[in-house]
Symmetry: C2
Subunit: 338 residues, 2 copies
Amino acid sequence: MKDIKQTWVFDSPVYIESCASVSGPMEKSGPVGRFLDKSFEDLYCGESTWEKAERALMKEAVSLCLSKESIQKEEVGLFIAGDLLNQNVTSHYTAREYPWPYLGMFSACATSMEGIAIASMCVHSGMVQRSLTAVSSHYGAVERQFRLPLEHVKQRPKTAMRTVTGAGAAVISGKKSPIAVRSVTIGKVVDWGLRDPLDMGQAMAPAAFDTLKKHLNDTGKTEEDYDLIITGDLSMFGSRQFLELCEEDGLYITDRYLDGGNTVYGYHPEGYAGGSGAGCSALVLYGYVFRRMRKEHWKKVLCIATGALFNPLTIRQKETIPCIAHAVEFELTAGLEE
Amino acid sequence: MKDIKQTWVFDSPVYIESCASVSGPMEKSGPVGRFLDKSFEDLYCGESTWEKAERALMKEAVSLCLSKESIQKEEVGLFIAGDLLNQNVTSHYTAREYPWPYLGMFSACATSMEGIAIASMCVHSGMVQRSLTAVSSHYGAVERQFRLPLEHVKQRPKTAMRTVTGAGAAVISGKKSPIAVRSVTIGKVVDWGLRDPLDMGQAMAPAAFDTLKKHLNDTGKTEEDYDLIITGDLSMFGSRQFLELCEEDGLYITDRYLDGGNTVYGYHPEGYAGGSGAGCSALVLYGYVFRRMRKEHWKKVLCIATGALFNPLTIRQKETIPCIAHAVEFELTAGLEE
């Protein structure tokens, strides 16, 4: 079969005009904590339910993203958002607060890069001058939906990941800024037959590998072209498997590789196998990676956000877990420092 | 505040190269039944669960959409899909069957037009030659997720709508065909404070009105420019409220107005207040409306798909229902008949 191109290269520049990251308390205490724009002191974020708390995270990220670069509400032409709650309700209830045309997205934890991809496409096409994209996840809201309420204090296997409490938002536009979006690679669904929802890292690793390979193929780049290749939330077991798949294929990226799930909590005893959730890649990318890029620590970054596309019912129906990964290529535009 | 543009006008032509609609048995027996491409004889569609049945509907729609115009799998550059199940699993498990880069979407029952909008944008921008978009819904799968399993045979109020069992798929490309996509208007979230999930029509009507007004404003068109204005699934009570909102505003569209939810079941006693679900607008548009357009019955059509952006938990948490409507302007390209 003929090869299907999965990468969109933006020949005219598309920039990250602004971004913001907002987290819960545990993310604040992790290695990326000091790079975040704001962190709430407890999981409730001043609200009465986990679900409202997640909305508070997303709303705060959106609000900071605008205020940091003095962008007015009416200068935003499109809002693109997604989260992990059933029917994406965090995003919808957040969108309700704003006067923007709104598109809901879902690629599980890969939604962060799906949002950047669509937002960039809309700006690149000239249809929209400025798009804002946001994602979020919340430990309490997600646990009770996908597994059991936190109050049950259930034990977990060592492969289980911890859902990140956090939200990220980014404004994409044609206005020159230090970080440009050069290309995006839209993933296809990859399913290697795994069915353990408490080991999503290993289920998602093949999707991340597939998208990395495809990105390099489509663009003619090699791993050497990147200073950093970062996966969204493969965590301890998934990232190891991802590296194995790369090495089996002759791709040696260990010297330039990070995983958001491993980075967000470091060695915190409550961090389980690492972080996961749509908020994970957003916190690490918008908070940590972009700040380090602006300091010229990394110039070319490929972010591969990964998502497990199941729900609790498909697991009970003995289905395997389809996974996806979307990649975005970021570049520091020359000579600009903070 | 400055007016935010919500409409994308495609100056270079974007066409519906192919489309297909597949339904369950009750939709077959309704007024649009004879226009559909295929209908299954029972709700299980040859599968063992409602969820698998919904996938069978979507897969069949995708497959027919390709075969009707002899489009090869490898000629499709992007798959965009959404449905109503938690975490959009119908779409993901369908996407798993194909080698396409895939974007998951969610605007509840408005996902059909969100898919057309993004697919058209990607083709118009030149990034993708041919995108395929699909949506689905299934009475059994949706009822047990949003309300109660069918086996409970619960009574409903007269405002309750019936989820359509059906799927639609469309291929969008630059290849000249009888029906062109001229513009899309992306809705914003509208919430008038209603909170009854068994009366979604009246909750969604203000969103449909908002998007219609915005579309006319953005494009400088009037209602007279359309031969048909069709809403997705407002059904009996919602469409009446929509017409009232229009008339209060001086927009008299009754002579050129249809609602998908009213059309799909006609006066079937089991059709409740009318059809709803992401499959509703897809069956009526791809099956019925596009066929009538090709016969030159209508030349200019505005389809406004409506969605209620809640989930059962937000209802239990006493939230109101945010709604959205996305509109797409279709035009019969001159002189082409079937």
